[in-house]
């Protein structure tokens, strides 16, 4: 018999699960989650979640991008530096300056965007701890409804406030369509 991971309640409308989430947040639970087939507007404050941190990754990626672009262009065409396996070569093009931020801008701009995109997506995966191909919810009998048309709220056993009876009665009080157990 597998250990219980948590208790899970199913709801059928976004309004129901919003109200339910607010009650669970107000009850002080920390190890819980809401499953929806699409993002519900206003669910983040209903769960007491703060702003996502993906943007921090983006700004780091973008800074690396523009720096890489400018440095690469300066080194390759505007310097005579000698690095292992690569030497700069001051290419003479019509007597124009060997390096200028203006001509270096298009390539640096594209690299800024490219590195920002990689950083944002990488950041999103890191913050979400994805890929995560194993999770107790993925074994649940109604998992297909979570990506289809139903909304779930589960509270994990690990939560310090978890109590089989109290948590179950809290969930029952939210008028769900069904209450079940998640197994580890």
């Amino acid at each position: 018999m597998a250990k219980q991971h948590g208790l899970i309640a199913r709801f059928d409308t976004p309004a129901d699960i919003m109200r339910a989430a607010e009650k669970v947040r107000d009850a002080g639970y920390k190890n819980w989650d809401v499953i929806t087939p699409f993002p519900i507007h206003g669910m983040d404050p209903a769960m007491g979640l703060k702003r996502s941190l993906v943007g921090r990754f983006t700004i780091v990626g973008g800074s690396i991008g523009i720096t890489t672009g400018m440095l690469m262009i300066w080194f390759t065409g505007g310097s005579e530096l000698s690095l292992p396996f690569m030497d700069g070569y001051k290419l003479i093009v019509g007597g124009k300056p060997f390096f200028s931020p203006q001509f270096a801008f298009p390539v640096s701009y594209e690299l800024t965007i490219l590195f920002s995109a990689f950083a944002s997506i990488g950041g999103m995966f890191i913050l979400n701890r994805l890929p995560q191909h194993y999770h107790p919810f993925l074994k649940y009998k109604d998992v297909a409804k979570g990506t289809d048309d139903s909304f779930f709220l589960y509270i994990e056993n690990e939560d310090p406030q978890f109590d089989e009876e109290k948590t179950r009665s809290l969930l029952d009080g939210l008028s769900p369509t069904e209450v079940g157990e998640l197994e580890d």
Partner: protein
Amino acid sequence: MASANPITSEMKPAILDEVDPVDIPRPALVENNRSFSWITEKICGIVEEKTPTWWWVCFVIACATASFTVFGLIYLVASGTGVWGLANPANWGWAIVNFVFWIGIGHAGTLISAILCLLRQKWRTSINRAAEAMTIFAVVCAAIFPVFHVGRVWMAWFLFPIPNANAIWPNFRSALLWDVFAVSTYGTVSVLFWYVGLIPDLASVRDRAKNKIRQILYGFFAMGWRGSNRHWRNYEMCYLILAGLSTPLVLSVHTIVSFDFAISLLPGWHTTIFPPYFVAGAIFSGFGMVLTLMLPLRAIYRLEDLITQYHIDCMTKIVLATGSMVGYAYSMEFFIAAYGANDFEIFAFVNRAFGNYAWAYWIMISCNVISPQLFWFKKIRENTAWVWIISIFVNIGMWFERFVIAVTTLTRDWLPSSWGYYSPTIIDIFTYVGTFGVFSVLFLLFLRFLPLMAMAEIKAVTPQADPHKH
């Protein structure tokens, strides 16, 4: 009980007691009040059902057409660039025209995904997945031309700043190199944006999978997505950021493509209107292609409830708007040439309209300036057959626009002794026609194996998804 109306009783002006504000209903984005499960079933059903016969027929024809490109390119590499029609003075011929054509088509996908997302245009949700796929496949077709036009394709990697035995670095002042970075970035970011958008829908397909192989394949790419709101929070932020990044990307990529021409000194090319003109033209041709693809799909898969007349209206209005911008750009080019009193510039434009490529010029004008103006009329916008026909004309016109720009200037530049006439060879023609086959093969594979609409996004914009409604 808090209502959605932000006007509280303390703020309410007296006039509201006498007047009853009209509640104008927004057009339904999903008609017939379809449920979430109907949406899932409709889109996943396409991926799960047995491959229809029409798909096989189209696939065989597409593969046969794509083989033209394959054989054309093999012959080109084996024999040399002399097999194309390029010769003095037109050393840029069909290759650059085809490249700009395909990249332009790609831009509509990014516009729909990114710019319409930032502008909160909820109608984008039923077309964005297919439009983004169109972008990626268009970039693949476009990239074929710069890679192969170099002649010695095995040295194409010299375009990147990688140490080589000749100790040569690329010339970062050249717009052609900016193109390399712009198009590579565009292709990469488009694929990433498309894939990120696919993750929740791949999870839907995974959860409905009836056999183990499907479950593993779709599951692998779904990254273990389970619809957790803690994940949605970061996902939505990432999506918004990608939309915000892709917007300047789409604007800059076609700007840089226009720089291929604009930073030269040739009459007809060296004008500051080129960047906005090319970007508007790209969006114009891209939406033309989106309509060309989506209208038949809508009929075949019976998607009328998801791609409604409102969607078609919005798309045709964008075609009308961008087509008008392109028409304005044509007239501005001409006006500034005349006003600037530059004889060579004036000649360039008179030559376009009345010289030896006048046939191409007038095809361009009738397809780009005249045909989209028909979209002012509601009767035309509501007739899907007409909309489809006009969308084909838009694409024909935009190809000819790039042709006219490139070839008329090159064949009639400063010195009459340099003048010539450019004709494509049969290899040029077959290689180009084949790229439509390459595009179709990729698009058909997309239709067969991946959910062609963004189910999660469509559900989110239905009225049932509003948590304040009940």
